[in-house]
Subunit: 311 residues, 2 copies
């Protein structure tokens, strides 16, 4: 039954790649790695009642499970290649599986990713994806590369996903939660331009804080520069900036760019239509300092913590 389910729903998912010597169906997948590249590996999981609930369509879960991993590769500047999928299911639901596979497949094909292995187990619903990607040796984007006096950028409009989740099904922002856009082409374009990069899963404030901590510097952000979507503006008005900073589930990129590479970044962003916004500047010291028209604003947010309540 397990082998049948895998054959019916998961064999051949994603793109066809000539570097897949052996995909689903043996003890492991066998893959050709091109010379001069480093391998980039990551894993992330979606767990029922933590990352989603019964209102989340299976098609969206297939998309998100892959997207959150693609986003990690994007943050490294890596080109996605191969995915493994480990599914725990309480029972066999062929309709659910079909819709999940369709959502996964569409995003995988869009990014040239082949599903090369995985397994199904009975268990509480949880979805673990492992992604492997490639980056030319020495060109990966790390969290730790920022220096003082560089520009701080963010992609897209953070906060929309968190607001969409609160709004519930049917709201226009809900799609930003259910179908996040992993910024893979942007990450690849940032090779050689960005000095540090991170993807936003726990919110801009928390994740940018991690990049800064890894880089041992601080940053000044100007609240008026934060990108706010029309939908978020309509929902929250003057308080929208708080959601932009605290949000979560954005899967946008935050990154730093040395001043002398700003023109190059802006040119690439224009020519490829990447939605990026300069929101501030790094400085020596530590932490994020927020200001509005020159006045320092108070903001603290711990970021999302799975174990905060239960620990």
């Amino acid at each position: 039954m397990e082998a049948d389910l895998i054959a019916r729903h998961f064999a051949g998912l994603g793109a066809a790649r000539t570097d897949v010597r052996l995909g689903v169906g043996d003890d492991a997948a066998l893959l050709a790695v091109p010379a001069g590249h480093e391998l980039v590996l990551t894993t992330d999981a979606l767990v029922d009642q933590v990352h989603f609930d019964a209102r989340s369509p299976a098609h969206s879960l297939g998309h998100r499970a892959l997207a959150v991993n693609l986003s990690d590769l994007a943050a490294m500047g890596a080109t996605p290649a191969w995915a493994l999928l480990s599914l725990n299911l309480p029972r066999v639901d062929e309709v659910w599986l079909g819709q999940f596979a369709t959502g996964f497949d569409a995003l995988a094909r869009q990014h040239g990713v082949a599903l090369v292995g995985g397994n199904l187990s009975r268990g509480s619903l949880s979805i673990t994806v492992q992604m492997a990607g490639l980056v030319p040796a020495g060109q990966a984007l790390l969290r730790a590369g920022a220096q003082p006096d560089e520009l701080v950028y963010v992609s897209g409009t953070p906060g929309d996903a968190a607001q969409g989740l609160l709004a519930g099904p049917g709201s226009a922002l809900r799609a930003r939660f259910e179908y996040p856009t992993p910024r893979v082409p942007l990450g690849i374009a940032l090779r050689g331009i960005a000095s540090a990069c991170i993807d936003l899963s726990d919110g801009l404030y928390a994740d940018l804080g991690r990049l800064l901590a890894a880089s041992r510097c601080g940053a000044d952000l100007e609240l008026r520069r934060l990108p706010v979507s029309p939908g978020l503006e309509a929902a929250l008005g003057g308080e929208a900036w708080r959601r932009v900073l605290a949000g979560g589930e954005d899967y946008e990129l935050a990154f730093t760019v040395p001043l002398q590479r700003q023109a190059e970044l802006e040119k690439v962003a224009r020519s490829q239509d990447f939605p990026v916004t300069c929101i501030g500047r790094t400085r020596s010291g530590a932490g994020i300092r927020l200001s509005l028209d020159g006045n320092v604003m108070d903001f603290t947010h711990p970021g999302f913590d799975h174990f905060a309540a239960g620990a």
Copy 2:
């Protein structure tokens, strides 16, 4: 808290490897792949109430979660390199985490494996490990390579783990279930010798059947040749062979060897003390035919199926 837990229990787990450019702590791990090698990727999960229960010590689960993945690499003839760990935990239990990490670490070090990433989520207890290994290009062992008139071998004494699980804590065979031995050095030694290979997770009969199906041939097995441990013999006497065939959770290797390579295999096995037993011979056709002193025996066993009851 999540980052704290990871730092406290999982940072630096396993072997130190110079090919790990970046391990735990960024958006993804960054790894150097040597020229002339193919990448081998696999994932397997242990789920509470399916693969273990409350009687399973955390130390054993740390070992097993890695061992079942190492076994997949062994079956490919791959050299293990890097692991990712995705843990869903219902609550933070520092003692449990510490024991789990110790069991994982000991086996990882034994096989030169570095833990390079992963994540923790709140959720029903389940453990998903992803393993990456390397094999010289073109030398991987596949399931599909067997030809008729080759020798069929198995390592170790299958059936012990299943018997140990039934016997419960305290029995001597229980250790074969709680601490399976992934046959990594044997798998590596079988490069260029074995024509096909598979690891035994669902039982010798079911898994050898998969190898034969992939290779489009059948096999004749002689019951008197099946390796039976003294413990299994003591427990089951003349019926022990049924457990050897049906067992499950063995993580031994079944493989085929062309006649002209038998001497080489036996020499390697002797010199490196690999416990391997020739149990029969492949033939054209399909399926496994069992005989006892020339008489064909009847045996059917579907293998373990997680969804057999619930589907």
